[in-house]
Symmetry: C2
Subunit: 246 residues, 2 copies
């Protein structure tokens, strides 16, 4: 079985990942926030590229019906209801709601992955749920690291490597064919085991601390806080209908 890690979003060629399970990782913070939103009972979440697109979609859906969320340079967007701090996506604020989200890297990567295979949203906070889902479906995964402004982000690569290592353990009889990115991510996952120690070493982590949002790092480091797997269906992210497929 194939197991690939794309260390930067520019490596994605949609035609080459058709039929694969694509796990999008932007653990600081977009995919962690999306996991929180869906775990907190949000009905659906639309990831969009630009602020204009977010506002336009909110108008189409009815501005009072949606929550606008997202960030630019780590900070909340003016006029939006929520930023990109995962702790803000509480059941009180987002339960039953439709969310339209635009972030610098994560939503771009989600939309880039959309024309490929089945797209899953991964983070440390739903680590085991993603691994279990990949093991259950015997998928040939592609871990897509969203990175930062199209550049490599270490935290996403380490999360990918740790998920890959867990999947290898979960399916001990599988014969894996890995790309260079997967070999590297497995090595990085051993080197940087603890996300709480890793985050302050990364450019994304430092930018979040500089924006005064350092508490978000501790939040994003909570392994297995949730047991949900958000998936992209059409243009929307919803919870994986695990039962229906098993």
């Amino acid at each position: 079985m194939k197991l690939d890690v794309l260390l930067t979003p520019g490596e994605l060629v949609p035609g080459e990942v058709a039929g694969r399970a694509i796990v999008v990782l932007d653990v600081l913070r977009a995919t962690t926030s999306i996991v929180e939103a869906l775990a907190a009972g949000a009905r659906t979440l639309y990831p969009v590229a630009t602020i204009e697109e977010a506002i336009g979609l909110a108008k189409t859906l009815g501005r009072d019906e949606v929550l606008l969320a997202g960030e630019r340079k780590a900070l909340p967007i003016e006029g939006f209801d929520l930023g990109n701090s995962p702790g803000d996506f509480t059941p009180e604020r987002v339960g039953g709601k439709t969310i339209v989200m635009s972030t610098t890297n994560g939503t771009l990567a989600l939309n880039a992955a959309a024309p490929g295979g089945r797209v899953l949203v991964g983070a440390w906070t739903n680590f085991q749920a993603v691994v279990d889902e990949l093991a259950r479906t015997q998928a040939e995964p592609v871990f897509l690291c969203a990175g930062r402004d199209r550049a490599f982000g270490l935290e996403d690569a380490v999360c990918a490597g740790q998920m890959a290592a867990a999947l290898l353990k979960a399916l001990p009889d599988a014969e894996w064919e890995m790309n260079d990115g997967a070999v590297a991510a497995l090595a990085l996952a051993e080197e940087f085991a603890d996300p709480a120690t890793l985050f302050p070493l990364t450019a994304a982590g430092r930018a979040i601390v500089e924006a005064g949002l350092g508490d978000d790092l501790a939040f994003c480091a909570q392994t297995d806080l949730r047991e949900v797997v958000p998936v992209l269906e059409g243009r929307q992210i919803v919870l994986a209908a695990v039962e229906a497929e098993s």
Copy 2:
């Protein structure tokens, strides 16, 4: 001082590396072959993107005056004088000659880097010469990993990490500011210390073996075989005029 590693060529933004020393690495095999060509006394080498461009430039310069070199899918190009096996670039064949070279990844990366800062050609075969040149000029280096079809290539990242580690040792009093790619490359350099052991694990290494050119891997693993630093000047690669600058 800044020290950056770009793990994939798509991360290069020429405007962001202006004034920096850009070390292009495509150790399997383009940059190793270029080091051999210049060490063997080739007068100059033009890296070009396409076969058509190579043939056109050879006509302009005079077909009898130049050697055409390069590969597609690891194999020599029909009608060309040399492939991309570094051992072919002997003093007997290339001494005093002008070479026009087109390879799948390396020459693309060289041309992408050209509008940025000063471009150096690096490989394991001229490892210490590159590190010495960076230390001597107190340059803020950007290591550009050419990779493979725009995807990550592990061997280039490991070479970048080892060069970065050697530079850190050579300038122990410098305060370095590193991007995530540099932090990852340093970790990978420790994990995969020996290029001869590493190469068979990589996609590029496997492709070269499958093409029947396995001897090239042993050649490219020869650390410090040469003491030259090829640099890009305009459209041509020549030997760095070390004396004139010191």
